[in-house]
Subunit: 407 residues, 2 copies
């Protein structure tokens, strides 16, 4: 597998565009579009929040119906959640604008939104945006990068990646982009992310691969414990790589899953590190747990805890907070089995040894915690399953960003 330049337009056949639709932001792009000349197999995972945005419900219909997907239209100003019938009408109007401009059936057009909840979208601006973008579609790397910038909200960096790998002698490309900085908590997937690939694969296997991979990637990140109403992860596969179509779980399928996991983990970690107000990436790795589910639960609890996150921000080696979070996570364990370490590029330091605190080198602890990426490494000594979760520290800026988000 090779990492290559680009993102959503890296795979053969995919084009992108963006525009300034002035939906909420001024003087910046706030709409993006991804398009493929040929119909694509698609798969998706969506928020588990009971309060689902109109666009989530729209996209679920396409993914679950078995219809192909040919385009995705995104806006980053208004979430189109809690908007009643008017919200659905906005989805339909957007998709129909794509049909008018490009001749693809409106029910093959996904829509996605991120931004303020509880406000109605300005439909005319959306439709104008679609018209503009339909004329500007381009398969260049730059077009993909610009699209990844247009979908940002409180993100401070754009997130995109592409890889190539070989299936039945053919080079296959998989690329993607994502956004997400606040209202991020793993439960299905908690952000917007779009993947495109030229692989030929059965729809059912595409969905299975995506659903599997999301559990250890996007579902393992958290910024603030708030599972959004809008989380959407979509993948489109157009088959233009001309590999032997994957129709069973063979070596080719495994090769694809490996690339998919790499891309999803890259985008997920990038989102965690760019959490609202974050000054560093905060990783929890739990090994030798009784079950995979326990390992996930424990590692997620550590990075989700406000007190843990504040300690990481303050470089305070207050390891009791991580044990406390593990204790209320819902996973059952005996603290007398547990070893806990701080780890970063500055070193690794054990602080808790099977029920008993260790008198440790405070200076080294602070040095480790001052790194831009800090890992809490926990050995449960109760089984052989492991999981890693990613989050960020809790800072003044998180409060600042969210105390006046609307204004």
């Amino acid at each position: 597998m090779n990492i290559v330049n680009g993102g959503i337009t890296a795979a053969t056949g995919f084009k992108a565009a963006c525009c300034e639709a002035n939906i909420k932001y001024k003087n910046r792009t706030d709409m993006a579009m991804v398009y493929c000349d040929v119909p694509c197999e698609c798969a998706g995972t969506f928020t588990t929040n009971v309060v689902k945005a109109a666009c989530v419900q729209w996209d679920q219909k396409i993914v679950y119906s078995g219809k192909p997907m040919q385009a995705v239209v995104v806006n980053s100003g208004i979430a189109n959640a809690c908007t009643g019938k008017e919200g659905f009408d906005a989805c339909e109007a957007t998709a129909k604008a794509v049909e008018n401009a490009l001749g693809v059936p409106f029910d093959c057009v996904a829509v996605a939104s991120t931004g303020v909840i509880g406000m109605q979208l300005p439909v005319e601006k959306l439709v104008n945006g679609v018209t503009m973008m339909s004329k500007a579609l381009n398969d260049s790397i730059e077009a993909g990068t610009n699209a990844s910038k247009a979908i940002m909200t409180t993100d401070t960096v754009n997130k995109e990646i592409a890889v190539t790998f070989t299936i039945s002698g053919k080079t296959v490309t998989l690329g993607g982009m994502s956004k997400g900085s606040g209202m991020i908590h793993p439960n299905m997937c908690t952000m917007l992310a779009f993947l495109s690939t030229d692989i030929a694969i059965d729809k059912a296997l595409l969905q299975e691969a995506l659903s599997d991979v999301v559990k250890d990637t996007f579902n393992m990140i958290t910024v603030d414990g708030d599972t959004s109403t809008n989380d959407t992860l979509l993948i489109m596969a157009n088959g233009l790589a001309e590999n032997n179509k994957i129709t069973e779980k063979n070596d080719d399928y495994n090769t694809f899953c490996e690339a998919l996991k790499f891309v999803c983990e890259y985008l997920a970690k990038k989102m965690a590190a760019d959490g609202e107000g974050a000054s560093k990436l905060f990783e929890a790795k739990v090994v030798n747990a009784k079950s995979k589910e326990d390992a996930r639960t424990l590692s997620r609890a550590i990075v989700a805890s406000n007190l843990s996150k504040a300690a990481i921000y303050g470089c305070d080696a207050n390891f009791g907070r991580f044990l406390c979070a593990m204790g209320y996570s819902g996973a059952d364990f005996d603290q007398n089995d547990v070893e806990l370490f701080f780890e970063s590029d500055a070193g690794k330091l054990q602080v808790f040894d099977k029920g008993t605190p260790i008198v440790f080198d405070e200076e080294l602890a602070v040095k480790i915690l001052k790194s831009k990426a800090v890992t809490i490494y926990v050995d449960m000594h109760e089984g052989n399953q492991e999981a890693t979760a990613w989050g960020c520290d809790l800072t003044y800026d998180y409060v600042k960003i969210n105390a006046d988000y609307r204004s």
Copy 2:
């Protein structure tokens, strides 16, 4: 029922003392003791955290064994959690010091701790503290108030209350004190709280009353979603009010439960409003839910959400965040049934009407949100059950307090 002066020493027969034991803090009291000349029936509820502090396990033994309780010793410097066998030895040494000083059996002495996790207690200082306090025990209101101050950590105000009520012609008193400001999240009870009463009541009924009342009071508050390792709520009842002993669920039992609920709700709200860094009390009231459990889940999710808490701090009428939190809470509902209001002493304002956002008066919304106590009032229109949860806003000071708690 009448509110009277005092707290833990208000009921007949209870004495308190405190001292400067220099366990963590300097130049302030950091140990407290509550004592009763006669053995008391006792009941307790404890943290559900798997990682339970040594003192929690010590107290559980007393409460579950059916033994009477005669004294409680508290320190507010070190939590005695994650401390292995040495931690248990510290509990025993403390209890035995009470036995030596006052002649009560050491297995009738509860101990409680709050403070840093993962550090060992200085046993000699604890034992000296017990010796000092044993000589200073006093049944005055002032002694109770001073004890309530000695158990504070990051609390900014002490919390105590007392009420009297009549049972079978006798005046009964119930008083209590509590502490708690950070690592507060409802799951059993999430703080230290001690109640004393002179009522005569069966132990089993005392426990049942306490377990019932905790569900709608202490378990309905949250500061940061972090369920502590040390949460302990204890009640001692010495029977000195000489009422006909309560041995069944009659009117007398109900009168007692009502007083107990009043006292617990008062202390719980006081803790929520004094959450670390809090600038205001944040209440969520959910009415007409399908079930009591749903009502509790929904109201707790609203006050637990970081994004909701930040919006309350910033007086940002961003109501979508409350709906979002309800949506991921785990309770099932249809957003098209829901009405949502902002409420405070400045007025009441509807912002969401059964699936559709309302164009509301932003100026009035800000006025309402600027109050010292703000309520999110939600009518589910799906049943007839209700619940109220209490929390606080998320401020810069929360981050500040927790970024360097240990140092």
